[in-house]
Amino acid sequence: MNTISERYAKKLEAEADIENLAEVLNFINAELPSHSLKLRNSINLAVEEIFVNIANYAYKPDKGGIAIYISTEQKVSIKFEDKGREYNPIERDDPDLDGPLTEREIGGLGVFLVKKLMDNIEYMRVENKNILVITKNI
């Protein structure tokens, strides 16, 4: 089954604002009570990078909402939905790690970390929504 249309056990709705990062991570970590610290750290990092990107750019200069879904059966799947401007982070070029890193490339570093740390990442634009799903095998 396509992970985009998968059913999720839990949902959080919040304003896409960096001030809500702790609330988002608490919501995610509450679903990962018995998972290893390493797995939780990887997932926290990926969730932060995606949430911060949405908070900084999706609705700029306005504000808007985000819905985050999680399920942890067999694997950890997290879905992010926002109604901001179209943005597919998967298409973003990876930073050139062999050359000198510039400020512009630092912006791509967050997405690069998500790709490295997660086992799968999918994007769809549906009904004016950005839908991004990250998956980590347990």
């Binding site: 990062l21 911060v52 890193l101 570093l109």
Partner: protein, 99 residues
């Protein structure tokens, strides 16, 4: 996140405890960048740093550039295995002076 500063003559040691993320990176930047104006050497002690995201990496890169511009060395010590993995993954391991 808690930041502790220890001055030993020209050498300034900045110890970070906790998480360097999108909500705390600015506070770290506000301590680190001005420090290059006075110190002759800056040591970042990451023994109690438990987590770093790209927001924290961005500050380290800004520090690295300032270090070059001011000719003040910036060294990082006591980096945990998890943070080392992030440094390696992102190419920062070869840019920064990690002891």
């Amino acid at each position: 996140m808690t930041i502790n500063k220890t001055q030993d003559k020209g050498k300034l040691t900045i110890s970070i405890e906790g998480k360097l993320d999108a909500t705390t990176a600015q506070e770290f930047q506000d301590v680190l960048i001005p420090a290059f104006d006075d110190a002759r050497e800056i040591v970042l002690d990451f023994e109690k740093l438990t987590y770093i995201s790209s927001a924290g990496l961005r500050v380290l890169l800004a520090g690295h550039k300032k270090s070059f511009a001011k000719d003040v060395p910036m060294k990082i010590i006591n980096v945990s295995e998890d943070i080392t993995e992030i440094f390696t993954m992102t190419g920062f391991a070869s840019i920064l002076s990690i002891m």
